[in-house]
Subunit: 285 residues, 7 copies
């Protein structure tokens, strides 16, 4: 046993116990092989991740995926080469602190610069995982609202009613307001003159509500009169509220407005214009 060990020692180490050139050479070869293997393994992981994502809703574009995968592979390859280089230098007792420091500062600066990219991806993952919204939902994100068209790794695309396409970095997505989860509220405020009999108005409106409920089956909870929501400057404000299927609330609101107008015309109930009481005086007397 001892002799074998001695033989190995003698061959690879010099009299001081440090590795000699042969020992070091073998180490270099091993590092080279390991680095190569690691690069190949990482390539495979990237390919696999890309293909599994392909099946999902992210980046449906084949060409973009390939570009992305090539860029990623290149970056990883160079990082591994760099690590290998430093390790080999270390074997030959050349201090690499200066290279590490330079690369470290460079890497840190690029890393901090690329941080919003990391945040984009993390936020994107959680939106998907928590199912905050899905393609086709009508959402409000910050000051932008519209229908979600694409939910990507880095950006979310939302199309406004006006046709504009908002491209929002996931990182900018804080609070999301989803308007496609559950019944939406249609709300119409109606002004009537102070001179009207408030109970008669309510009766008329109740009739209108009943009619609308019958005519539309996308209403979840029939239009109801909440009551007097304000004693305003020019008249009494009454509020009518209904629950509808998502995205139908605006149509119902317009319908309520039209029917109220027709009923008021029929029943001769005044929607008040701004009113003013005038006292006429002679100048400065």
């Amino acid at each position: 046993m001892d002799r074998v060990l001695n033989f190995i020692n003698k061959f690879f180490k010099n009299s001081k116990g440090d590795l000699n050139i042969f020992g070091k050479g073998i180490k270099v070869v091993i590092i080279f092989i390991v680095i190569k293997l690691l690069i190949k393994t990482t390539y495979k992981i990237i390919d696999k991740a890309m293909h599994s994502k392909k099946k999902g809703i992210l980046y449906s574009d084949e060409k973009k995926l390939n570009t992305l995968s090539i860029v990623l592979k290149n970056i990883i390859k160079y990082i591994f080469y760099f690590i290998g280089l430093i390790m080999i230098l270390d074997i030959f007792n050349i201090k690499t602190s200066s290279i590490l420091a330079t690369a470290g500062i460079g890497g840190l600066v690029i890393g901090i610069g690329a941080q919003s990219l990391v945040k984009d991806i993390i936020t994107g993952f959680f939106i998907l995982f928590e199912d905050q919204f899905s393609v086709g939902d009508y959402v409000k994100i910050g000051e932008y609202e519209g229908i979600v068209e694409e939910l990507g790794v880095r950006v979310t695309k939302v199309r406004d009613f006006s046709g504009e396409l908002h491209i929002i970095p996931n990182n900018n997505i804080g609070t999301v307001t989803n308007r496609a989860r559950g019944a939406m509220r249609a709300l119409v405020k109606v002004n009537v003159a102070y001179e009207e009999d408030i109970n008669r108005v309510i009766n008329v409106l109740n009739e209108v509500c009943k009619d609308i409920r019958k005519a539309h089956d996308n209403i979840v909870d029939g239009p109801n009169i909440l009551g007097i929501s304000d004693l305003g400057e020019y008249g009494i404000e009454l509020t009518i509220v209904a629950k509808t299927n998502p995205m139908e609330q605006w149509g119902i609101e317009r319908e309520i407005r039209k029917r109220v107008k027709e009923a008021f015309d029929r029943e001769n109930i005044e929607i008040p214009y701004p009113k003013r009481v005038i006292y006429e005086k002679n100048p400065k007397e």
Copy 2:
């Protein structure tokens, strides 16, 4: 004793006192076993935490929990593998500072990017722990208000009266206004003309207040007239205040408005329209 020690030394260490290949091999095996054990232990802790949370109100969705647990386990597994790798390299005297530096910068960048996730979880924990609000409470968080529907580890879901679902990252939750803890205030401001006798108006309103108090038992502290809250441009503003059960304040406010309107009609008290005094003059004379 000495001989046993010498035997061990001879077998595992070379003449320089450093470990020989056998000694190093044993160390590697031990590290391998320890890493495996640690991974298994961490898996168990995760499983346990997941199951205890399942009982609570967080993430009721079984499938999501499993996904989350698999993701977590994978991340932890790779971190432990990475640590093991570095330790083994250290045993063979290969300097790992370059790998550590690279991984360190990468980890720091991802870590800082994932920071808002950490903040989400910490804030979420404190909301639960301090019982700031619970599911069903009517709250205001920043610019969003509504009824809490879900209080999760990372996000809180609040449903607006308009039916919109606000998904708020816990991290974005600063000051919380809880409107379901204690009696709420109903407040109605009534304008009467300067020409009215202020004491008669107050008497009439007092009668109204008494009637409302009798008619509604969700009022905690009966509607009272605070007094003249403003000498406005067009009239005197009187304020009526009541304390009600939570979420009933708006109904009571509408009720007060309706009763005041009816009483004023009955008593012939004028709610003033905007008034203006006009001096007519001849042009530039």
Copy 3:
């Protein structure tokens, strides 16, 4: 002497002067005992701190305290275990830089994420220490105002007049406006028509002020007429000011308004409606 030392050396150290397995074993045992002792000591300190706080106004809820103390103890236990593990690994010459780096980055990320918690506690301490406000004070913190209900380690609870409970993380508390320290000012602005004799108006108002001073003993410094605070669009603005006990200022303001209105009715002084001078012209001539 020498021999004793030699004996010790021989038993615990090998021929190279490094500790042998026995020497190392003893070190491990000592570290194990010290860690255990430190954990117990820390437990006692936590228990003591919890009980002393219990007497104060912080966290009156026994159950919450126990939960908090268990969470804290667990965190500390695992940190000590982790330190112990690293020290033992160091004794066996296994490099732990990779573990330290991983844990360091993890700890830093969690630490930075938990920073607002640290700030909450520090700010909370100073609010208490400097007696910025106490439970029952009427304060304004940022955009929230109301009566302080609870002054906790992490959050301050303020109840609004509208009954809403604002739960403010101490960290969000910057400038505090305390409205319960010293006399408050009641301020009423009264408009009179340009046509009135300004000195007669001031005399009438002085009478009103005297009457109010007599009738109310919660006034610290009697209502005074400051003078003409504006030559407005429609009339002359006079300002009446009084100093009252805290929280009484609004009542006094309403009282002043009512008395001024009655005096003006009595004395026939006009509170001016918006006025306008009209020149009538024929269209485009």
Copy 4:
């Protein structure tokens, strides 16, 4: 074998096993050569990157490219020289921690200062890669909107309709609103007097819509009347909506307005002026 190794050792190392001056000299020469090679390689990579970019849409200006490449090469050259210097000092056992610390702080400060530059480039890359917008698109970026004139590595140039050229650092580009992807909406709001028969008005407007649809083929989805969008202070607000080709929406809106005006003139439908109801009273009676 042994003898060769001994010879090498004797020649390059002194009796203590450290390298002697000859051994060190060889190391220095090797470092010098490697540094030179690395600089040349980096130069080639830069040249290649510059030329490949030249073909693209970035920096079409040859002269700027050369300046940029010279600046970049100089910076890289000095960094490599610096690294080489430190490595040589290390070989001669002169501690370089002070130089590294000084350079590290300097580099970090410059790096953090140049961070927005890194962010500019990363954001620029993603805008190109994700095809968020291309030259000629009409976009809105933050508060600036206009037609994209140049999409550079560091800045994006957008020309406003008013002719102004906005030069936006890519780093400042968050959410992008692209108005050239898909049909745009033309929206016209029309007010009619409360006195009008609402159904007759809708019929007239329907005729107008049909005529416009026929006359213009840049309309994707014909102008439709959504219904009553508001019961306003002075009249009923009707909303007409059409989908058009991008950038044509404003023209269609102006066309709709003109045709509506003409139809209303023809059909004698009133577009209401602000209205007011006046009650004349005698002063204070």
Copy 5:
């Protein structure tokens, strides 16, 4: 000499030249003593600082000072104990990097959390040192204004005219507006009708200015008429300006307003009401 040295070496060091247990024990005792001495010295410095501050205007409250000093002493004591512990462990060759890393991260997080405290103190020092304001001055700090009541190490207390006490962390104090350093300006804007003779009005106002200058000796620079500051919608705006002693400007402004009103009444100069020219037309003809 040699023998003495040898004796010392033999007694304290083992054959390898490392310190033996006796040598290490002595080092531990020395560290223990030094730590104790340092703690006592720091205590004395704190006590001294506290007493010198007591004489100043900071923290007049004896009890608070004692609490603060006890807290400070405890923190310092534990820090010194911690340093001593690490040094002793180092003597016994137990690697302390894990403890240092743990404590370092903890300290950094607490330190960053306590940073606003550091800023409070530094800003407080400079406010005092630069004499930006002193107790009794009328200042404006951010959105808060009032009379300075206390200028503390950490907070500044400002009492508003409305009696509210603003407690502002020094850290929040950016630009300070001091209104008690030098003469203040009283500024009154007077509107006269376009129909008035502008030169006659200026003469009348000049008379008023002269009278005021005579009557008040807290005016530094007499009220002057600047001229026509606006050709407004309803009339010509003239501006009167005076320089007064600090805090007297509002009184002077009210006085100027009153005297101008009386002079205009006397001289029959019109302060214009809003004016409007009316063209009457028949509906749509």
Copy 6:
């Protein structure tokens, strides 16, 4: 060979292989010389950079340049001295970690404090390099606009039309709006009464546009009538648009306005005053 090496070793190194005092002395002298040489080289580089900049548009002021160069040289000198000092201490085996740590923290704090300076210079470089604007251009930077008067290394000076000189740190320059690159748009909105015949108005305006096109040769693209841009409260809004040479747009706008006014006078087209429809009613009946 061996003997020479031995001689050198004996002379400069002691029996332990460490450098003796002579060896160390030589190292110190070398460091001293190298530091001196580096300082001189840096001085030359600074002088060169200063002179090359002098030729450019930056800092035309000779005196400022000298001051700047002296300050820079002093800072660099002291940094090199500091590095030299640490290296010499290291040679004599005096640990310098405490000095490095102290200087490192100091340097970091100053560096971070001076960061905005670094950003100023980097941004300044890119403004020049990308030719974002040049002296004499009319630009808008943030809320400031005017003609660029100086484009410096650290600040940009912009003179407003009102004569004010805005001195903007380059760091504050984000998006730049350059109004001197390409034709500018003149835009005039004209209101005509609803009663007018819209086609006749357009014809009249077309005549006006033709006349203006003929009369002015600084118009790039003749004034055109876009169409009806709004159906407003009081009238129909028509928009006229022209493209002019930079800085001429305001003059053209004023010219268009004047000619439109004259044409409307001639053609008797009404520019509508605010209109209102009045219903007179008896009070509350």
Copy 7:
């Protein structure tokens, strides 16, 4: 030679080649002396800097300077003592990493806290160096404007026209608007009725401009009529512009207004009151 070296070695070093107590003692003494010398040198530099600054415009107050110098000297003294202590501990092989870590974190926290101080000084230096403004200039800094009264190392004092003294930390100074560099613009907008002949009005105004130019010699570029700047709701807006000496613009503006008013009175040109066209209708018919 050898013998001398051996003698030195024997006296100062023990048999292991490490310094013995005598050798260490001498090192300690040297460190002590060097630290003392460095402190004295720094004191002298501070004194010199203070005296050179005294001559300048910074800190004219002798007493403040002394306080500042004492504080600075104390801080530097303790930092040097601390460095010396660590170096001595290092000589006696006591690991100081724990002390360095503790002091490092403390220093970093204080340093970051004091960072705005560093920024104050750097910004202050550049304001002076670039001559952005000097004492007596009328400037606008952020939201504050007035005449510069003091330009200090840390703060700039600006006195408002209202007499208020704004004390602005230099750090808060971003963009500076200097209103005392070059001619200022006086701008007066005049409204005339639509009914007026626009050419006659312009002739009248031209006469007024000529008269003003003659009467005032602080006008750099005579008042000119720019043309019609708006076709407003009630009239035509004409703009008159002049260039004046700094600070004279407001006086000239008031003068222009007065002369225009007098000329219009003379020439019977109407400055229009708000106008309205009224259509009277019967209620709802």
